[in-house]
């Protein structure tokens, strides 16, 4: 309809979804393409569920309708399931296998699905599951987990890997360029290429 490639990045406030979406936006600028995005700020950031919409070649509104997302990147296993209905038929989902249970599960004893149940439910999509926390640690910093995830998803984006890497290098703190470059490459290896 709109001709855009629609990406949804989800996670928990504080996991670095905004930097990840900025990296995609900057990559679009480098390639001279239009891009639109929307994200969660304010109260919703305090450890809550957060979402960033990114529409590569987007010319209209920033929001993507449920059932229309081409690529879903989730920094948390439970959040992947929460937003999975946003995926279009045949859409790809790249998920960090790490699971953080909401505090409500402990304080209100709410039932929560197990890791196995979540993975089973996500298998109806084109699933790429990786341990981004472990890879980020190997790359040199647990904070590079968001860049690992982008690397893992990069094979399914209509953006050149070299552009994405350039964008990573531009946007991460200068001291961490080397770690994040490694994180991107290791993520890319873990995610495979489309």
């Amino acid at each position: 309809m709109s001709g855009s490639f629609d990406i949804l990045i989800v996670g928990i406030g504080g996991q670095g979804t905004i930097l990840a979406s900025n990296i995609l936006g900057e990559a679009c600028l480098i390639e001279g393409r239009h891009v639109k995005g929307a994200e969660t700020h304010g109260m919703a950031q305090r450890g809550g569920s957060v979402e960033s919409h990114i529409r590569i070649d987007g010319r209209y509104g920033p929001l993507i309708a449920p059932g229309q997302v081409d690529l879903l990147i989730s920094f948390d296993l439970l959040e992947a399931l929460r937003y999975s209905h946003y995926l279009r038929k045949g859409g790809r989902i790249v998920v960090n296998s790490h699971l953080v249970l909401p505090t409500s599960v402990y304080t209100q004893k709410l039932p929560a699905p197990t890791e196995d149940e979540i993975v089973k439910a996500l298998k109806k999509y084109d699933l790429c599951l990786l341990d981004a926390d472990r890879i980020a640690n190997e790359a040199g910093s647990p904070l590079s987990q968001n860049v690992v995830m982008l690397g893992a998803a990069s094979g399914w984006m209509p953006l050149k890997p070299a552009t994405l890497l350039e964008s990573v290098r531009r946007l991460v703190p200068r001291k961490t360029v080397e770690i994040n470059t490694k994180a991107f490459e290791m993520g890319r290896e873990a995610g495979g290429t489309g």
């Binding site: 304010g42 509104g61 929460r82």
Partner: protein, 588 residues
Amino acid sequence: MERRYLLGNEAIAHACLESGVDFVSGYPGTPSSEVIDALRARPDRSYYVEWSVNEKVALENALAAAWCGIRALCTMKHVGLNVAADPLMTSAYTGVTGGLVIMSADDPFAHSSQNEQDTRCYAHFARVLCLDPASVQEAHDMIKPAFELSEEFGLPVLFRPTTRICHSKGDVELGPAVPGLRKGEFHKDPRQYVVIPAHTRVLHKKLNEKQPAIRKRLVGAGFNRFEIRGKTAVIAGGIGASYVQELLPAGVSFMKIGAYPIDEEWLGDFVRKHEKVLVVEELAPEIEETVRQVAGCVPVFGKKNGYAPYEGELSPQVVAAILEKAGFLKNPFLPAEPVPGLPPRPPILCAGCLHRGAFYAIKKVFRDAIYPSDIGCYTLGLQLGVVDTTICMGASITVASGIAHSGETRDVVCTIGDSTFLHTGIQGLINAVYNGADMTVVILDNRITAMTGHQPNPNTGATACGIETPPVSLDAVCRACGVRFVETVDPYDITGMVNVLQEAKKRKGVRVVIARQMCVISARRAGVKRGRYIVDPETCTGCGTCVRFGCPAIEFEDEKARINELCSGCAICAQLCPVGAIVREGKR
């Protein structure tokens, strides 16, 4: 020309630089805060910028600057405009000489707000111009004309972006920044600036006489435009226009509204060329009401006849459903429902947040009390059962005194943050003391306006631009209001805070307890390291006391508590554990 990927608010801030803004004031409020945050962070400032104590104060400052002939921007969220409504209404009478742009950011769906009011209604009410952008680029592009229109008509201009503009991003084409070098000068003119009845009657007439010219001028301004493509038409405003354009089938005419007041003649010409018209806009039926006035016998579809919702925000799927209901297209989106039964993940007070400790102590001392509260991160105390009311900024102390005087026999203990106390809390405190209310006020003092992104306030000790200032003494303010019992405590010291609250409980009249501790996010940024705490699994009995405290750093696994990497070392859980199982990492 430069193209950058920017947040809507950053694009708006840059457009202010391109307009040579001279004076900036505002009060933080989601989704408006990042405009001033972007402007105050620039090292090459050629303009004055302040965080004011509230929106009324901010607008009166900006208005005065504009009276002196310089360009002024004043930012706030939609509900802040209620606070600033008093100067707004009369500023339309006095007018301005320098451009005055009042940005009031609306929040459809109340993502971070207490209501879904519509700033366009205020523009209508005050009879001033209003610009309502449909995209981040247009938000940027409207700012310079907003200043120019303000100067042309000598009126403040309301600029009304919404959450999905302010917190959207896009590739934005920017122009060069122009330094604001105007020097303000106040020209005395009592007939303009002293609104005694004899003057204001004349000023009101002048305001009304400006209206036809404004409407005509906005036709040519380019923010309201149309394309005739068929016998039916959709008229859309704000970001709704972007959603409509993505979905609109060929052969349907389209009109986009971005500037108010709308010229009725121009609108009527368009409407009457069609057999039916659908209006798509967020919140109030502001466009729809004007369309209905001019439609004659053309059927109009919109909120008033149930085709579009009054509440919430628009989105591609909501707009598709409206278009389908009104017979414009078949909804292209297949139903996609979320997986049911997942545990929700709402925002939560941070691990190590001072408010959690303060709420715990309040609940321990005042078990069966009424807990009025206020606007800030601490509204999340709702999850802990210590927030019974929240209406608007400052309404904790006033609601508390109202309940205390109502005949309610239970204790009344209200909570209010430092920034909110300085915003509109002090008047309520003076009133409560003056009228002899029997209540306890707990000021949650983290020395910063945290929820909106850690803006400094008079209690912080620094201005918006980081210049050191003497911090306000909350203790001295409360004492000056006539409060006799004022105690400052550290909410990380649960025993200490409980003791002070017990003392407060015994007293009569208004008692104030100031719970002071740095915001845990500010502390982390300042490099404060307290060390983490761990649970000794051998000692832990799995009683769940620490888990019920509700800290996101505490998990429960295999019948034992466990502390995760979110721990910031506040040590409150270690004080609560009945068997001493929680200890500092590396100790013991």
